[in-house]
């Protein structure tokens, strides 16, 4: 099980994957908005998305767990 964490504090702009979806290494799973910039959050490994812990509009802090892979 691998956790994908927020690289910096910001707001969830969009969620690009659904639970149960297969993703490949380097794929963006969601986008944060921070400092007026779009920050893609990518997975470093391929696998299946377990749970998505955040919704669009949520504030997240650096290090918060956004997505848990199966």
């Amino acid at each position: 099980m691998k956790e994908i964490k927020a690289s910096m504090a910001g707001t969830v702009l969009n969620v690009l994957v659904a639970e149960g979806e297969n993703v490949s290494a380097g794929q963006a799973v969601l986008t944060l908005e921070s400092m007026k910039m779009e920050i893609p959050i990518e997975t470093t490994e391929e696998g299946e998305v377990g749970t998505v812990n955040v919704n669009v509009g949520d504030f997240v802090n650096e290090g918060d767990i956004l997505v848990v892979m199966k």
Binding site: M8, S34, M35, M37, E38, I39, P40, N61, E62
Partner: protein, 512 residues
């Protein structure tokens, strides 16, 4: 039959050159490590080292050939270099009195010859049994670090870390310009996991606490993470090719190579300031193919630092990476760039700043981590360089981000804007919000409100239009991204004679 004096000499030499006992050589193999003398052969041109001193150190003692360190002089890419290499088959590469004296002497040689110094480190640390002879005295281990500080900026100092560098020994890499670490084997720590458990009660693995990957991605103590020893040594040879032998010389020019084939640079940079792009692709299109040598790739990746060649000439690149954390400057990114800039300036490597930066990060987390003083450190390092310094505003340069990336006030030789450049205290969204927030909130109809905000955005964008800024001579030139390489080739060539002294004072009071 009596041995001849020559036979005695040859036998003694052979015994010393074989290093420690066979079982320790077996252990090396099991760890995917190479023998110290093999490492030297890989480092030097044609596998040969020309000169070795102190080979017979401690030869009368049992099991201490060369006292656990090889000190030699040889050639790397034709450049003379001095090297020390711990031999971990001899008492785990630990330091006795003669080990320390040998390291000090090879450092002194490097200083006299004004040539680069390599530290091939693989050592368990001090031999406690020898502490009085090697630790506190005038020519004890402290002198190694004193010498390193003295040599810093005089000659390149490179550490290749193959195994542990423990306690005091961990300062050898710390004082080097650059540390190349072998994944899984290299480690750096003040107290071992065993000591950590005893003294502070922490249970942790060596890899987690002081492993190569951690140091190259989290602590910032490592610069390059190599898969194996051969790769690490090859990387060290490549690294040195960007450097002159000492601060009095300039890096060597090599034959020019055209950039890697790819998209036009103008296609890479999106006009929308908020959308990420990959700065690596931009750099690839700008520099000679295959010439980019990245420093601290895994650490603070929102800032890219590395050496490259443009038209065969070495430059040091400091670039924001909008693909990671929006290219925002953090504590670690500031720290990373500050050290890199200092390194380039020390050895006459011209600097190229590629700015696409929304500014320094804000919020409790970074403020309490001291982002202001780390930002000040970067700005100080960037300010007092005397090498040719070119600032290119690739896209946005907001707030102190403009300053950190060698903006106009910091005396770059020129500040070039691409047509996508936007220079401002802050971006349009933030600025309109800051100035008109009361008014925006007073408008009740959402459509009217949106219209008002968009009008103000438009006004603001016109206010900071790059042609307007060029008209005010804030930037020196506007060039198409597609012409940037040619522009840089011409400018660096014109700036070659640059000679300046930043200040006559002793040194600044560094904001560290």
């Amino acid at each position: 039959m009596l041995k001849t004096i020559n036979e005695t000499l040859q036998e003694t030499k052979a015994r010393i050159e074989a290093g420690g006992a066979e079982k320790y050589h077996e252990k090396l193999k099991a760890q995917n490590k190479l023998f110290a003398r093999k490492r030297l052969e890989l480092l030097f041109d044609d596998g040969s080292y020309k000169v070795e001193d102190g080979k017979f150190a401690n030869n009368q003692a049992d099991g201490l050939p060369a006292d656990g360190v090889v000190t030699a002089i040889g050639k790397v890419n034709g450049q003379t270099v001095c090297v020390m290499a711990n031999d971990s088959t001899v008492k785990a590469g630990s330091w006795g009195a003669r080990t320390v004296e040998k390291i000090i002497r090879i450092q002194e040689t490097a200083m006299r010859l004004k040539v680069p110094m390599f530290y091939l480190v693989d050592s368990a640390g001090a031999r406690i049994t020898d502490q009085i002879e090697m630790f506190p005295n005038r020519r004890g281990a402290g002198k190694i670090f004193y010498n390193q500080v003295k040599m810093s900026g005089m000659v390149p100092q490179v550490c290749v870390l193959f195994g542990p560098s423990a306690a005091g020994g961990a300062y050898i890499p710390a004082f080097c310009d650059t540390v190349i670490m072998v994944d899984q084997n290299a480690s750096m720590y003040l107290g071992s996991p065993r000591m950590a458990e005893k003294v502070i009660g922490e249970k942790v693995t060596l890899e987690e606490m002081g492993g190569a990957r951690m140091h190259c991605s989290v602590s910032g103590c490592g610069d390059v993470l190599a898969h194996n020893e051969e790769e690490a040594i090859e990387s060290a040879r490549t690294y040195l090719s960007y450097f002159p032998s000492n601060y009095k010389h300039k890096p060597e020019k090599v034959e020019a190579v055209i950039p890697k084939e790819g998209r036009n640079l103008s296609e890479i940079v999106p006009e929308n300031q908020n959308v990420p792009f990959d700065m690596y692709e931009f750099i690839d299109g700008l520099v000679d193919e295959g010439s980019f040598y990245e420093m601290k790739k895994l650490f603070a990746p929102e800032m890219v630092t590395g050496f490259a060649r443009i038209d065969g000439k070495v430059v040091g690149i400091v670039a924001n990476q909008p693909k990671v954390k929006g290219g925002v400057l953090f504590v670690d990114s500031a720290d990373k760039a500050a050290k890199f800039i200092t390194l380039c300036d020390a050895f006459s490597i011209p600097l190229l700043f590629l700015a696409d930066v929304p500014g320094f990060m804000i919020g409790t987390k970074v403020e309490s981590a001291g982002i202001i003083r780390h930002g000040a450190k970067l700005i100080a390092a960037m300010s007092d360089v005397t090498v040719p310094k070119i600032s290119v505003v690739v896209r946005k340069a907001y707030g102190a981000g403009l300053y950190a990336m060698a903006g106009p006030a910091f005396e770059p030789d020129c500040c070039i804007a691409l047509p996508t450049a936007q220079i401002a205290v802050m971006g349009p969204e933030a600025a309109v919000n800051a100035v008109y927030s009361n008014k925006i909130n007073e408008i009740e109809d959402p459509k009217e409100r949106m219209k008002y905000v968009q009008e103000k955005h438009q006004e603001y964008k016109e206010h900071i239009d790059i042609y307007k800024l060029a008209s005010e001579m804030i930037v020196d030139e506007i060039v198409s991204a597609d012409d940037l390489r040619k522009e840089l080739i011409d400018r660096y060539s014109m700036y070659e004679t640059k000679e300046m002294t930043f200040s006559e004072r002793k040194h600044p009071v560094y904001p560290v």
